[in-house]
Symmetry: C2
Subunit: 198 residues, 2 copies
DNA sequence: TGTAGCATGTAAGCCGTTACATGATTGA
DNA sequence: TCAATCATGTAACGGCTTACATGCTACA
């Protein structure tokens, strides 16, 4: 019987599998967190450290990963490698589970919908800040994309990175246009005031 | 002291505030769920019924909404309206809280990154299904957009709906190109086989 | 008569976060 | 010697889902 794991668990197994393609050492929880922050974060989540360790222990209990205790220079650390059943569990999951539709939690859109309660200045400031954050995120992803290069073994990670870049570009364009529409809305309000008072 | 509420709580208050702009009856939990499925779902979440009722009771305890018990034709139902402090709490939140960066949970991208473990056919099938689902979602949002119209009072909801539509369009285009790249990847693999065996 | 929709809730439990606690190593 | 980084965990708690439980109304 295959254990029922969360999607995040499988995502972590995936990171370990792809790591084992380049090295046989396995990864520490700390390294896994770093990797998740660099990649997983753009299309899934960046789990907290505490969750990484919790998941790692769960996977170990299920026999999907094997810990390799090692004291690198006297410092205690545990490296994890995927077992054969871990690899099989991932393959099964990839083969049978339904992806489902993406979920977007967009706090900027959530506030923008109430823009009339915020006023033009607050909306404009919010969109400005979002544009900045967007540019920064895009930069982070772009440097990840550079590291991937055009190695055919990383064709799919490259596709997903490009997907993210295209998404950020589209988002930047849309936010730009929303900026203009907000200004137009404010101008219209002034126009209405004139009519009402004139 | 302002009570600390989750973003979802404020989102629900927002729905009630916008409802009170068109009617003074307030909304039942059931109606709120329906509204959330139609709107909130596209940029935040579609909370379960049970959560709607839980939140509504929490807001009531904080004095942010007022229940209006009413038996519509013998059927028991409770309609909620936003109180003055509820409206103030929302304004405060809109004025002071930092939106933070959007979080995208994209199960299709998560699987695509492991495309080499899935094989071309499985990847292609997944992308096909995603395209269908995308088209359907876009249709749902388009009909919401139609209902909004160009009423200037709903300028911001219209902007957010257009944002969503543009997002879905961009996504459809990207997925289309990923489809082609997956085919090219498979073709390359065949080419490599030829070289290795030739 | 029965099904779909309206309407409201409770209980159990998972996923994930923040806060807290501990300690070694490296380099400025 | 101090800060940053490496490294690992526990405890408390919040948010949210699923499953369960209940009952009325309209309509085919």
């Amino acid at each position: 019987v295959p254990p029922t794991l969360s999607t995040t668990s499988y995502a972590l197994i995936g990171l370990l599998v792809f790591d084992s393609a380049s090295s046989t050492n396995g990864m520490t929880g700390y390294e896994l967190k770093h990797r998740a922050d660099l990649t997983l974060r753009f299309y899934w989540v960046a789990p907290a450290m505490s969750q990484i360790y919790t998941e790692l222990d769960r996977l170990r209990r299920h026999g999907l990963v094997r810990p390799r205790a090692s004291k690198a220079g006297g410092r205690r650390s545990t490296r994890y490698v995927v077992t054969a059943s871990g690899r099989k569990a991932l393959d099964d999951w990839l083969g049978t589970s339904q992806p489902g539709f993406p979920v977007l939690k967009h706090p900027v859109a959530l506030r923008l919908v109430m823009g009339s309660l915020m006023g033009e200045e607050a909306v404009t400031a919010m969109l400005d800040e979002y544009q900045k954050a967007l540019t920064e995120r895009r930069g982070d992803l772009a440097s990840v994309r550079l590291q991937i290069g055009d190695n055919p073994e990383l064709a799919f990670p490259a596709m997903v990175a490009d997907w993210g870049l295209a998404y950020y570009d589209a988002e930047a364009e849309i936010v730009e246009s929303l900026h203009r529409r907000t200004a137009a809305w404010a101008a219209d309000l002034v126009g209405d005031d004139d009519e009402a008072s004139g």
